[in-house]
Symmetry: C2
DNA sequence: CAACCAACTGAACGTTTGTTTAGTATTCTG
DNA sequence: CAGAATACTAAACAAACGTTCAGTTGGTTG
């Protein structure tokens, strides 16, 4: 909606400050006055540009969603990412944007649902297409559900970036951090971590405990 | 610290209301008055019991951490959980407790770090011991780092419970939800999802791009 | 029964909150 | 260069905030 050219305006500066502060102190915990002070303007100007504090929140959401989609689209076009997919590309976003993204996902807001659904949709396509191309062996059950579980796993690393950064000793919001964690992720995904027999047995046990996918509406115990 | 017996007091009721509201509206977004109203007491009583709003926050943290550790200890003693470990047992906690846990993990607080480290510590032991017992084939590099990545993945499902609940059609904060997602998780962990050759190639590419684990302190780019 | 202590409330406190309003610079437009 | 729109501020507003304080209740103890 807003072009990149006019994106260095005072309005943009205010928004960028908000994007930085909201994840840190929460929405209610971030005051309009604090944002204004950080942006070097009066509190009234913040509301002049965004109507209300909630309006500023919406503008931040929109911007971050826009940037995320843009980054993914670009990554897909240039092919500059590898399996398991779209999320890896996200890490090319600026750090505050990533922090905001992780924060939003945890709020359970409508924006969070939108972003999650977007990721799931894309990974679903990658699963189905990948299967045809031989990149994917076999997904369990519904590809959309398989994608959702996969996306949740990947985003877990994003949402817990602070903890992972400490554990791995590399900033997880940078490409370097993603690279550092990738071998560990791949070790898990490759099936080389857990013993095959134990897993197969566990899988069988779980599937026996569960009703068949068709048999719905059973009385609870 | 506090026994289970005296845990149905007014004090406990106030704390339980706080545990329910903090994840929903955030710390700053939850008012002492709202908590008092929900607990059916005066705002002054909240501060009488907990000293301050921040004191209430600490009490909630302590309680949830205590319950989490207790649940894990019990699960380990009875052996009532399977790989990949300690996190699965956590799902036996009450739903508000789980929501609070997920929220805290996202705040990056000291409590979050404590809980994460606790999980990582336990999973690390499981990895090392599991390898001796043949349950674990081979972890990549440092077992603690491998555990951290594993824990982050698993907790991703917890933190994104709202989204996963929608995607899978089962409440992810119940044992039923965990069971429903398990086959999808296992499909990923078993190595049956992604093509082996593609993964091996990706792994090799990444390891080539990275310096050897020993060679530290290289100039950036 | 007196003395005490913890549980609990109503009312008020000073502060901070988001927002409004009236007005001043600055920039665009014909 | 007049005029209109836009960018921006200082000051003030009512509402809501966390917290305090003085006081009441109800059970326990000597």
């Amino acid at each position: 909606m807003r072009s990149v050219v006019e994106d260095l305006t005072t309005r943009a500066r205010i928004r960028d400050v908000a994007i930085e502060r909201f994840p840190k102190d929460g929405f209610a915990g971030t005051t309009v006055r604090a944002i204004a002070k950080n942006a070097g303007v009066s509190p009234a100007l913040v509301l002049h540009h965004f109507g209300s504090k909630e309006g500023l929140h919406r503008a931040c959401d929109e911007y971050v969603v826009h940037m995320t989609m843009e980054m993914k689209r670009e990554a897909i076009e240039t092919g500059a990412y590898r399996e398991p997919g779209a999320i890896a590309a996200t890490y090319q976003l600026a750090e505050p944007t990533l922090r905001y993204l992780a924060w939003t996902l945890g709020t359970g807001s409508e924006t969070a649902a939108r972003i999650f659904a977007e990721f799931v949709g894309e990974v679903t396509v990658q699963l189905v297409q990948g299967k045809e191309q031989g990149l994917i062996n076999e997904y369990h059950g519904d590809p959309q559900k398989q994608a959702a579980v996969l996306v949740a796993m990947q985003l877990g690393g994003l949402m817990l970036h602070d903890q992972l950064t400490r554990a791995l000793g590399v900033d997880m919001l940078t490409a370097e951090g993603l690279m550092a964690s990738a071998p560990y992720t791949l070790q898990i995904f490759s099936g080389e971590l857990f013993n095959r027999e134990v897993m197969a047995q566990t899988k069988q046990t779980i599937e026996q405990l569960q009703p068949a996918p068709d048999a719905k509406q059973r009385a609870t115990k």
